[in-house]
């Protein structure tokens, strides 16, 4: 499809949906309320939204959807760290029921026992999975959960009178950047540690960094390299030794479910991403959902309101005085909580362990296939296994051909595959990160590896094909330098029209849409 921007599809007078009319009795009682508005409050010019019939609106967005590559459609193992797993369709059927969609959070608790029970049960299951005592499901995503981690840590130290003293948070470079960013947003100074020569987190570096000024360590494990820190308990103990708390970013928990637990390593607080590990769909980038699990010492600081069980009934309790309060409206991202509950109930203990083991098996199998490709490598811990993902490098290929990892990614899209390099900074040169999860069959892993092998071959034999990609995408090579220049960037259609067309209204509806058919 060559689908225009929606504003170009406007036709004066068309309607997409009609609004229920103001009843005659209401009109009789209150008159013309719009005309009665004070003039300075009454909008003079209607917002310049498009005017379109309903079918054309539908068609527009359906076509855009076909120009998008959802996890359901491809072998989505190239978005490393993202844990792109199967989001079961039965869960979509379950959550899209009026007894969930049409619930208001302030209804009589007697009318919402079902959803309260699901929240409560989900918390208890996550407590078991993490080994922690209490769980909150309020946060709306992984980074938001990291924020809640640090917010609770801050409140804890304040409650202990150490707020002024403890101004530093320590993290590692292969932990998710939001740990650093959230700590900073909470007012902390951030110390970032680099790994040792083998790519393992450096315990000595930690010990050197720890001090009475340390509020917490905030680490991911396994890190985004797929390497598990074997000294993790020593890390936690070292933090505790200086009075700091230990916060565990469990975004990468998919390979260790039922294998090892946060509390067993001594952590005080951890979080999970329900949209990664627990099978809720990623929604183009949210809504996700986070779960914060804490030891009993930190439980008073959890966000509120909490769902409590009282015999057979479930009740809602407002946040207590030491709670960090509300972190999101009401109870968090409820549809994802229900999905995660259904996902866990479909699997059980044996199933969760099979998830972890299969994710790890898939990853190590894929690693073998990738490392067979000339020019690909997996820096650090050479020859050792990884947990659930691997940060690879094309450095050798780059040195041979000049083709960068980004260029390979653009070319991979021509084969219907996602591909991601890594978070910044690129500690691993020419990085790429693959996380196969448990959701893909051996044949699909082979297929993905074959695509990368083919692109590596192209890079050596016909590098122009790679360099000039994309060749088979909806759009062609895009000039991203437009986007960093305040004079040229266009974040909305109105800004675009203003900057490029001096605000003149767009002309006639877009020209004939003689696009190729959906491939």
């Amino acid at each position: 499809w060559d689908e225009p921007i929606v504003f170009e599809l406007t036709t004066p007078g068309e309607r997409g949906v009609l609004v229920t009319p103001v009843e005659s009795r209401v009109l009789g009682a209150v008159g013309d309320v719009v005309a009665a508005l004070p003039e300075h409050l009454r909008r003079a010019t209607p917002p310049a939204l498009p005017e379109m019939g309903q079918m054309r609106v539908l068609k527009h967005y359906l076509r855009l959807s076909q120009e998008n590559l959802g996890a359901d459609l491809n072998v989505d193992i190239g978005q490393g760290t993202c844990t792109m797993k199967y989001a079961p369709k039965v869960n979509e059927r379950l959550v899209n029921t009026p007894t969930l969609t049409a619930l208001h959070p302030l209804q009589d608790p007697a009318d919402v026992q079902g959803v309260l029970e699901i929240v409560w049960r989900t918390e208890r299951m996550l407590a078991e999975i993490s080994g922690m005592d209490e769980v909150s499901l309020h946060t709306q995503g992984g980074s938001a959960a990291i924020w809640s981690n640090i917010a609770m840590i801050r409140a804890y130290h304040e409650a202990n009178g150490e707020a002024e003293q403890r101004r530093e948070v320590i993290t590692t470079i292969f932990s998710h950047p939001s740990n650093a960013a959230a700590a900073k947003a909470a007012g902390y100074d951030v110390v970032t540690l680099y790994p040792d020569a083998d790519g393992y987190p450096d315990l000595d570096a930690l010990k050197a960094a720890l001090s009475p000024r340390t509020a917490a360590i905030m680490v991911t494990n396994p890190e985004d390299t797929g390497i598990y820190n074997p000294a993790i308990r020593e890390w936690v103990d070292a933090a505790h030794a200086v009075g700091a708390l230990a916060s565990y970013d469990q975004a990468n928990a998919n390979g260790i479910l039922g294998i090892t637990r946060a509390r067993d390593a001594g952590f005080d607080v951890c979080h999970f991403n329900l949209h990664k590990t627990f099978g809720t769909p990623h929604g183009c980038g949210g809504p996700g959902a986070g779960a914060n699990a804490v030891s009993s010492a930190l439980a008073p600081f959890l966000p509120g309101p909490r769902v409590m069980r009282d015999g057979e009934r479930f009740t809602v309790e407002q946040a207590g005085s030491r709670s960090i309060g509300s972190v999101a409206p009401f109870f968090g991202v409820v549809p994802n909580i229900v999905r995660a509950y259904a996902w866990m109930m479909a699997l059980g203990a044996e199933g969760l362990r099979a998830v972890a083991e299969t994710a790890v098996l898939n990853n190590n199998y894929l690693m073998k296939r990738i490392l067979e490709i000339p020019g690909a490598s997996a820096p650090y811990a050479v020859g050792r296994r990884r947990i659930e993902q691997v940060r690879y490098s094309w450095q050798d290929l780059f040195e041979e051909t000049g083709i960068s990892s980004e260029e390979i990614g653009v070319r991979a899209a021509d084969f219907g595959m996602h591909y991601w390099t890594s978070h910044h900074p690129y500690i691993v040169p020419q990085p790429f990160t693959l996380e196969p999860t448990e959701s893909y069959s051996m044949a699909e892993l082979d297929e993905y590896a074959a695509v990368l092998a083919e692109i590596a071959r192209e890079a050596r034999e016909e590098p122009e094909v790679v360099r000039t990609a994309p060749h088979r995408q909806t759009v062609h090579h895009t000039h991203h330098d437009d986007l960093d220049d305040p004079e040229r960037w266009a974040i909305t259609w109105r800004a675009y029209r203003r900057k490029y067309f001096a605000g003149r209204p767009a002309g006639a509806p877009a020209a004939a849409d003689t696009a190729e058919a959906a491939a």
């Binding site: 921007i5 929606v6 997409g16 609004v19 229920t20 009795r25 719009v34 508005l37 209607p46 005017e51 379109m52 309903q54 539908l58 967005y61 076509r63 998008n68 590559l69 959802g70 359901d72 792109m84 007894t99 969930l100 969609t101 619930l103 208001h104 302030l106 209804q107 078991e128 709306q140 950047p177 960013a181 947003a185 970032t192 308990r233 479910l257 294998i259 067993d264 769909p281 980038g285 949210g286 809504p287 509300s326 999101a328 409206p329 009401f330 994802n336 479909a346 059980g348 299969t358 050792r384 219907g416 591909y419 893909y440 051996m442 759009v475 062609h476 895009t478 960037w489 974040i491 675009y496």
Partner: protein, 482 residues
């Protein structure tokens, strides 16, 4: 059972595949992959979880059974708002956001995810028209976060700590904002008068150490702020930023805050095409003018239009990616992560369907029914309106004159299937009406409330008509849920 565990969600639990893959990597068991996990950290027992329901029909029966214990606002007549609103969601919205292509996509590049980039760029652009501003972010988590971030932006831009809170704010929102910004900002509440800002008091507190004036319109009680321009001018005079928290639902008929001088406009998009979801479907927007000083302080992703190698073709990408925590970790602005993109697409589809005329009609219905409900409830002896500001969708009534508490009234009306509103204190009830609550629904509330407070119904006087039955074709909720 001795049969191997094979699960539909995990293809390689098929025994042959598992064996073949282990052989391919030269491992005898998956345990080999966990060598780095110390033995004393290994869990030596199965997780203690409920028995699974591996057959889909058993799972459906269980989870569906739990959910069927809920009684929804299709059955209860609800006047609940306070941050989550019962608006109509057109079917096309759900159709689009439930498409596998959007529902299960994530963070692809502009080439293979062209549709996502375009849909979110369009969302930004549609919101921009409604708000009359040039820059809108890819949604953050919710209106609470958007407002917290908006204020934090003001703090970073001005290097100041004081924030004057000029409006009544939802307590939960105030809690979130407070905890989020307190490392950098101090909030000072300026009590409202008659439901809206005390502009004189705000002016008197303004000084060159004020980072921002924070206004909510409609406020926590649904009051529309009438003196925004005055507040903006006063704030600007001392170099402070005017941050306006709002719900965009009314801007088909109301002048948007930007046209009164707002610098940062933020709020929630739940009203624009999202179901109530037990309060679990919110998205936050932050809108600013096309001014790099503001834009570079935004932590969210911003999708922009770009040219491509093909003349006339639109490409997309991230604007000023270097602002973000993805690019610079703690040196970025706050952080960016998985937030609420799908809800942004929903809001975009919603605004496309509604168009200018739909948003105008909706604004009119909301204003008209709000006013109708205010009059209907105020006509009950002992019931007084909380204030006489202009209200959109929500308003408060003071039950002090009835001798009954708000809690009493809620309890009584629940017995007849009505959620009359949210008690704010012993005597105050926050009532919400939308296009989903018809005139007959409002009349029913008024009659039931009158009965609960022991007053004779007076609502039928309202329209000057004798006949209580209305002629409008829409069925009542009772008919619907009979």
């Amino acid at each position: 059972m001795t049969r191997p565990f094979v699960h539909p969600y995990i293809p390689n639990t098929a025994p042959e595949s598992r064996a073949a893959m282990l052989a391919a990597v030269g491992a005898t068991s998956v345990d080999e992959f966990y060598v780095d996990v110390p033995a004393d950290l290994r869990l030596d027992r199965p997780l203690d979880l409920p028995e699974p329901l591996t057959a889909e029909l058993d799972l459906e029966r269980h989870v569906g059974g739990l959910l069927s214990r809920n009684v929804s606002t299709r059955t209860r007549l609800s006047f609940l708002g306070a941050g989550t609103y019962h608006h109509h969601v057109p079917a096309v919205v759900d159709e689009i956001i439930n498409r596998s292509e959007f529902l299960t996509a994530y963070a692809g590049e502009p080439y293979e995810d062209h549709g996502r980039f375009q849909a979110l760029f369009e969302y930004q652009s549609l919101m921009a028209e409604l708000l009359a501003m040039d820059v809108v972010n890819v949604p953050t988590y919710d209106g609470y976060q958007a407002t917290a971030t908006g204020l934090a932006m003001a703090g970073r831009m001005t290097g100041r700590r004081r924030v004057l809170v000029a409006s009544d704010v939802l307590p939960a929102k105030a809690s979130k904002v407070h905890d989020f910004v307190r490392g950098h900002l101090d909030l000072e509440i300026v009590p409202t008068i008659g439901g809206t800002a005390d502009a004189a008091a705000v002016a008197s507190l303004l000084a060159d150490d004020v980072a921002a004036v924070w206004v909510e319109t409609p406020s926590a009680t649904g009051a529309v702020e009438a003196r925004l321009r005055e507040l903006a001018d006063a704030a600007h005079a001392v170099g402070a930023v005017l941050v306006v928290g709002t719900d965009p639902i009314g801007y088909g008929v109301l002048v948007p805050p930007a046209e009164h001088g707002a610098d940062i406009v933020c709020g929630d998009i739940q009203s624009l095409g999202l179901h109530q979801w037990f309060g679990g479907a919110h998205g936050g927007f932050i809108a600013v003018h096309d001014d790099p000083r503001f834009i570079m302080e935004m932590p969210s992703r911003l999708f922009g239009l770009a040219t491509t190698d093909v003349p006339g073709e639109y490409g997309f990408g991230d604007v000023a990616y270097d602002r973000t925590s993805f690019a610079h970790r703690e040196e970025g602005k706050e952080w960016v992560g998985t937030a609420a993109a799908l809800w942004g697409i929903a809001a975009g589809v919603y605004l496309t369907l509604m168009g200018p005329e739909g948003m105008r009609e909706l604004g009119e219905v909301l204003l008209a029914r709000t006013e109708y409900a205010r009059r209907a409830l105020a006509a009950i002896p002992g019931v007084e309106l909380g204030d006489d500001a202009l209200h959109l969708r929500e308003f408060t009534v003071d039950l002090g004159g009835t001798g009954r508490t708000a809690g009493d009234v809620v309890r009584d009306l629940r017995l007849v299937g009505i959620e009359p509103g949210v008690p704010l204190d012993e005597r105050t009830l926050l009532v919400c009406v939308t296009e989903m609550t018809s005139q007959r629904d409002i009349d029913r509330l008024a009659e039931s409330l009158a009965a609960a407070v022991g007053a004779s119904p007076a609502a039928s006087d309202l329209a000057g008509a004798d006949v209580p039955a209305a002629s409008d074709p829409a069925p009542t909720l009772e008919e619907q849920s009979a």
